[in-house]
Amino acid sequence: MLKEKHNPFKDQYRVWYPYHSPDDPCPPIVRQYVVPPNQYLGFQPPNLPQYSKQEALMKGTLWPIFFSPYPPKKRGKKHES
């Protein structure tokens, strides 16, 4: 099954794992950060699809391509620092 190409506009989270020494008693740390979609768009093309004005106010942007909710980190992961 072809691995779905990473869509930077939808899944904006990047994860990296700092070095975890074998002598380190603590569980390994997981670092997450968000790369906002405007980094991938460059100069904005005209006539992009838009939200309705009600939705735009709630979402904080007029164009869905720029929507970056920055959701809080999922608390579920055990060794989340």
Binding site: P46, A56, L57
Partner: protein, 84 residues
Amino acid sequence: MSHEKQKALLRNLQEVDFVLVELTLYLDTHPDDHEAINQYNQCSLEREGILSEYEEKYGPLMHFGHSFNRYPCGWSEGPWPWEI
């Protein structure tokens, strides 16, 4: 609360204002985009309508000549838009 209509008008005004802010920033970098210019002008007309409707019913929203004042129900009396 009795101020439903007033709050709805204010919310509508807020939404149109946000679209205008976005379009203003967009037009700063895309001055030649006629589509956006038309949308911007249409939104500002719409804003004018909402503003006049609100001010006619509930009093001025802005000072320094941006809104007509009156007495009674001028800006010297409450409730302020954030107090309703």
